[in-house]
Amino acid sequence: MNKTTNINLGGLFFHIDEDAYIKLRDYLDAIKRSFTDSQGRDEIIADIEARIAELFSEKIQNERQVVGMAEVEEVITIMGQPEDYLVDDEIFEDQPNQEPSSSSSSTSQNQKRTSKKLFRDPDDKYIGGVSSGLGHYLGVDALWIRLLWIFLVVAGVGSGILIYILLWILVPEASTTSQKLAMKGEPVNISNIEKKVREGFDEVSEKVKNVDYKKMGNKVKSSSRTFFDFLGDVMTVLVNVFAKFIGIILIICAATTIIGLFIGLFTVGSVGFIEGPWTHYIEVLNTSGVPVWVVSLFTFFAVGIPFFFLFLLGLKILVNNLKSIGSTAKYVLLALWLISVIGLTVMGIKQATEKAFTASSTETRQLSYPISDTLRIEAESYGSWDDRYYNERFDIVVNNGNKKLYLEDIKINFTASEDSLGRVKIHKSAESSSYEKAREKAAEIEYDFSLKNNTLYFPDYLLTNYANKYREQEVEVTLSIPEGTVIYPAPSLRRKLGYRNANNMGYSSYDLPGHYWKMGKEELHCLDCEEQEILDEEKTTPDKDERIRIDSNGIDIDIKDENGDNFEMKIDKGGIRIKAGNKKDTVV
């Protein structure tokens, strides 16, 4: 007893035994494969199917009869083995010049249509067979590709290695004979495969079956091409071209980003291993204590992995038979990405908490100097360093091999002393993750002043150990002087004075230096400020119609009312002049 199947062969209906059906199907598949790349395959297959149907119907007397194994074998004998269909091709392709024009043109078309696929070549490899595979694909000797790799590795700071590894992972190895043929651009047909098999490859038949199996099956249909088929083809080509274009852009963008990240990873990640002026900067800002290379590695993954997937997408658009990197690899990458993002967040929080607490350390020292004399105050910049690296917010200075941070966050204020003693209060502050730590860091700020010949020298910078890192270290100096003391802030102090310097002139701190000031009960009184300066300020906002001016030159009044009447009065060295309306009086 045999199970039967119904088939439609060339438009005719047949009952066929299951085993006979499998045999017939395999036979037709083999023929289909032998025409994989030749022109008019669908049509040829349709003709052959029609002929087989004709042969079957000759052998079958009535509709109820079943096509069996014997009939199928008989038909195969008549039609010939798949190889028999190929003899033509071999003649035409091996000796195209001996053939008339018609076949040579179709041969060249055949060659054009032979689509190569990108595989790695396991038979000719140094590392992964990527170069030889690319060589086959591009039709170049693998040697040139290998030289190009060496050039890329040398010139591209190792980026060539990364690309190579990517291709190694992504491009499948040509393990079956049909893949090897596709790799070299030879049409996958029975005789070519046989040739390969004779060269020493086994177990072909099973794998050959996989080649384009479904694709061929779907394509066997009516051979007539309608206008809409043609239109569809044109659209497909256009869409393909557009897709490839996008693919190329994706690949270029993603690859550049990844290569850039890679270079960045190596340069920034080497902080701590390689010394350079710029490495200080990163090290000093990194207060969280997490090694810089960890941060850069996390950044590399957090940014690089999404771009890697973009790269994959681009490759997938360009290369049809791209091997999937596998779900395991995808999950590993996803996990790595998540870890990196979480890691970066944690480190970011840690870095932020380093600024959570501000604490200070204060010391007050008494000044001993003859109060009666004028106290001169100077800002002192000291600049004899073995080495100094300038940065935006801080500098790094080196003396005798000791690295120190150099900051200029100094503020100097003047206040009135409550008693008859002069004092200097130095208030140092810093930020850290806890109050204690912050106070510790504040105490480690090096700042001192000196008093020589009635002159106070305040450095315009503070120093702290390099290891303390940048924690917004600041120094606020408060100079308390007894009432009646005269001070002279030198112009060098200009940028170092704090905002809280009350004075009778309403001067901003910036304008204090360069004048003699006497400490009053609460504020400084200017001894040599010219009143003109105040008046100058008033002059800057003159009223067009009205003027009342009282200064060292005398009194000048000029008023205009709504009716247009004028009143002018001037009192100066020349006497008093009054002009009201049209009248004019002068008193000498």
Partner: protein, 114 residues
């Protein structure tokens, strides 16, 4: 050197010429062409002819039309195109020359041997 290969190649070389000749006077469908070729022992298996017919059709030497059949599905009737007729004439003269040349060469050889 495989004798079977050489024989097959000799046959295939003139197969196109034969097919075109069969269609010279009358349009025929694949099975009829096969019949003639098989009777003349030009063909061992039928499969060979289909790629060849398609090739000739794609080259513009043949065209076909569908014709209803009483005993089955519609049949493809092949006919020579004008280009095909020119092509056939060319092949005919080439065959004549070749035939003569081969005859001369082979008979010369036998006479030499004698």
């Amino acid at each position: 050197m495989n004798i079977e290969n050489t024989k097959a190649q000799m046959r295939k070389g003139v197969l196109e010429y034969c097919i075109l000749s069969i269609l010279r006077d009358q349009d025929k469908y694949a099975s009829e062409i096969l019949e003639t070729l098989k009777n003349a022992k030009m063909l061992v298996v039928e499969g060979t002819i289909y790629p060849l017919l398609t090739r000739l059709k794609n080259a513009g030497l043949l065209n076909y039309r569908w014709e209803e059949s009483t005993s089955g599905p519609p049949r493809k009737y092949y006919a020579l195109t004008d280009k095909g007729k020119l092509f056939l004439n060319e092949l005919s003269s080439t065959w004549e020359e070749l035939h003569n040349a081969v005859t001369i060469v082979t008979s010369q050889k036998t006479s030499d041997n004698e």
